[in-house]
Amino acid sequence: MKKYLKRTLTIVSLIIIPLLFVSITQKRVDHNTLRIQGFYQEEQNSIDVVFFGASEVFPGYSPAYAYEKYGFTSYSYAIDANYTKLIKYQIEEVLSYQSPKCIIIETSCYYNPRQEEEKKTALATLRKWTDGIPFSKHKTEIISQLTDSDQLSYYFPFIMYHGNLENYADIEAEFSQKRRGYTYLKGVTSTNKKTVCNSLRDVSGDNTIEKLPEKDDIYFKDLLEYCKSLDCKVIFVRFPQRIEDDADYEMFCTQNYIDRLVAENGFDFINLDKQFAGIGLNPNKDFYDKHHMNVNGQIKTTEFIGQMLQNKYSITATDLSESNKKKWDMSVKYIELFYEYFRIHENDEKVYWWYENPSLLSKLDTINESYL
């Protein structure tokens, strides 16, 4: 009996140990993964507002700063190059963990023709999201509905990413975040980069309509139907972008089409492209490219959205547990340090790209110590 036990243990350990090793070390981690994983580290039913969307969201809105200024908790459940089809599934996923008072859907991702054309990009986006989701029944449903091959690699990412030499710094960031149990910066990414705007088009009163691409149109209408069944407030927002050329303008016009669809379905749509003055955005200082904001833009947009949610939609703070309050207070401290750090490097010629990795956190800690 002892002999058989020893043999069984040997064989099982020879399978389990290498599998554990590769599961821990062979993965792809980036700011998207950290942000999505960070969402699941939040206490259940403690988030008041959840943002959905693509890369416009996480450099343009800061949950910790909004918490500091307006008291409500929020999170950007957004990923790079997010696309139409995924949003509904993402809302379902979020609602299985949180009961937010309000959902904000950023609408820029509804016009991204390359997504459907380039299946690879779409698959990469899907993986950026699913790699961060913990295992659940809903995850299995997402994978079975959105993929038709290599499904095993969505559950065991090492099948997809093994042998990658370039990813160890981010894996370290993941360890650090998991060890801590929550995120400091709530998935915010940003930069000190600024780009000068050459020919900003004034679209403040422009209501020209351009229809969405066919598939996006179907998915968007489907999403609107789905949103009607939700118990929380749903708001559609277009984050500010600089409209410089015809392509930007065409995209802007699709937002007017979205505006019409949203209104027809009884929801609110706020197009921040038309609110540059209200937000106080400086096109030459507040964007790192024409689609994305830098830290300056992030602060201004967060204040604008925060005020809007507080005043217009009466979003108030949920009572947080003592331990959760401490975590959010810590996030406030770190976002302040982050903004301080930005101000130090604001005018550096060197461009910095920031997200919550050990390198940035150690620099913020250094600033913190110098304050003490």
Binding site: R7, I15, P18, V22, I159, Y161, H162, G163, N164, L165
Partner: protein
């Protein structure tokens, strides 16, 4: 079903479970059923070709047997002269019969695999004679391992003809020999006499043999997935776009391709042998550290050993027993003065057919014929110049056991093999010569190495893997009488455990598999 896929190993596991759970007498039926499932899953309707081949050699062998038995039964009734006459007739009849069976079986292979070679040659002549017409290539899908099972089928019927084995009465046993699933993909070429007995005897589950089989499988997976496929990514990039790369990069890619092919093929054979050992069945050895060879002759005795043996048994021997060989031999003895030449010329005549067959077996293309003849030519030059080389060696006082000389010989053989591999990898003969010219254009090998690493930094894993394989190769060379897996198994438990753990972890971490890679099939599976 790829041999490196999880599905294949799941399949093997299920077959193993059934194999050891059912009554021992039925074990061969499990192997037959699983081989059929494997074949049908891989080749679908094309399985009929394999079944037809089996039916022909099975029926053919019985036909030969019956013919011989008829003679044996009538032998007693005949007087001495009549018996001599009948024996002569029998011999001729048997020869004609075996030739007819072999031609029919090989005919299927030729039609399926080589019809495009005919088109290629016809088009070449069209070009030579400036005729403005070219024939279109046929689009034919080949059944799995056709070149392997056909040659094994031929070996079975020839062995029956030669009286080495008796014709098997049970067609299913012949079918199992031809279709045995571990060796159907890439060989080795086993002979009926070696396998049939192993299929017949009962196999009790033996934990130690099972573990040794697993070690061999792991070793094969390491060679295939960590080295061959990893190198394959860079090699493919360079050979698919040679004009975008420098000469030294071509040279390095050629060496990498040689290693890739070795690790791919020998890795597959290790998996096959290991899987077969899980059932308690040993298949023939196919590789014996070929890069330690000191000559081309030795190389081919260590590389694809069973193909060499097959060609020796079923091409070389029939040729030297033929009338035309005897004519050449007679001619050499009559017209040549040197004893050396008298020996070399007839051998060269017979070997020409061996190497032509070797080239043709590798593929239906002129470059493969040239590939076989390249080695033939080098061997013949080596044989012709042997006395000269001996003289030079003696003058330089070089003894056979001299280690630096042995190293020189190994490097020389490796270089020759690499040139052959470049021809093997080139799309056409023309491209081969273009690549040779390009390889000679510059000698900045540091730059070339940088270029290669830039294509895929992960190629470094493969280089580390090559070092591991080289070290194991040295151990194997020093312990020729003991199998490497036995050597591992003799070590204390903890060392064995760590060895296996290392290989499993390396395969999972650095192996080429999953959707992130376009894992290449085994290179030899197409033959």
């Amino acid at each position: 079903m790829k041999l490196t896929s999880i599905y294949f190993f799941a399949f093997v596991l299920v077959v193993c479970l059934v194999y050891y759970l059912i009554p021992k007498k039925m074990q061969w039926i499990v192997l037959l059923a699983s081989s059929m499932v494997f074949f049908v899953m891989s080749s679908g309707i094309l399985t009929v070709y394999m079944l037809a081949t089996t039916a022909i050699v099975y029926g053919g062998a019985l036909w030969l047997n019956k013919h011989r038995e008829t003679f044996e039964s009538r032998k007693q009734e005949l007087d001495k002269a009549q018996r001599k006459e009948a024996k002569k007739k029998l011999k001729k009849g048997q020869k004609l019969r075996v030739a007819a069976i072999a031609v029919t079986v090989l005919g299927i292979l030729v039609v399926l695999k080589y019809c495009n070679l005919g088109v290629e040659i016809a088009n070449m002549f069209m070009g030579i004679f400036h005729l403005n017409y070219s024939f279109e290539m046929f689009s034919i899908v080949l059944p799995l391992g056709i070149s392997y099972y056909t040659l094994m089928a031929v070996s079975y019927v020839t062995d029956v003809y030669r009286g080495v084995i008796k014709a098997e009465k049970n067609p299913l046993r012949v079918l199992l020999f031809v279709s045995y699933f571990p060796h159907i993909v890439e060989g080795p070429f086993d002979r009926f006499k070696d396998l049939s007995e192993q299929f017949s005897i009962p196999h009790k589950f033996d934990y130690d043999s099972f573990c040794k089989g697993c070690i061999l499988v792991l070793f094969g997976l390491f060679k295939k997935m960590v080295i061959a496929d990893r190198l394959g990514i860079t090699v493919a990039e360079i050979f698919d776009h040679p004009s975008e790369h420098t000469g030294p990069a071509i040279v390095i890619a050629t060496v990498m391709y040689t290693i890739q092919l070795y690790c791919d093929f020998s890795g597959c054979i290790d998996i096959i042998s290991g899987v077969s050992e899980l059932f308690g069945i040993k298949v023939a050895e196919n590789f014996r550290q070929p890069f330690f060879s000191r000559s081309i002759n030795e190389f081919w005795r260590r590389w694809h050993i069973t193909l060499g043996l097959w060609l020796k048994e079923y091409v070389y021997y029939p040729v030297i027993l033929s009338g035309h060989f005897k004519a050449v031999d007679k001619f050499a003895k009559k017209h040549l003065k040197s004893n050396h030449l008298i020996n070399v010329v007839p051998a060269a005549y017979a070997l020409f057919f061996v190497w032509l067959s070797n080239g043709l077996w590798h593929g239906a293309s002129l470059k493969y014929i040239l590939y076989g003849l390249y080695y033939y030519l080098l061997m013949m030059i080596g044989e012709l110049c042997k006395p000269l080389f001996e003289k030079i060696k003696n003058k330089m006082h070089i003894k056979d056991g001299n280690k630096p000389f042995a190293l020189f010989q190994m490097l020389r053989t490796f270089l020759i093999v690499n040139i052959g591999m470049l021809l093997f990898r080139s799309a056409t003969v023309g491209e081969f010569f273009r690549l040779i010219k390009q390889a000679m254009s510059s000698f900045n090998y540091f730059g070339g190495a940088r270029e290669v690493v830039t294509i895929s930094i992960e190629v470094i894993y493969a280089f580390v893997g090559v070092v591991v394989i080289l070290m194991i190769g040295i151990v194997k060379e020093k312990n020729k009488t003991v199998l490497f897996r036995d050597l591992i198994y003799q070590k204390p438990f903890i060392l064995r455990y760590l060895f296996v753990l290392f290989f499993v972890t390396c395969i999972l971490t650095f192996g080429v598999y999953g959707p992130g890679y376009n894992a290449s099939d085994f290179v030899y599976a197409q033959f």
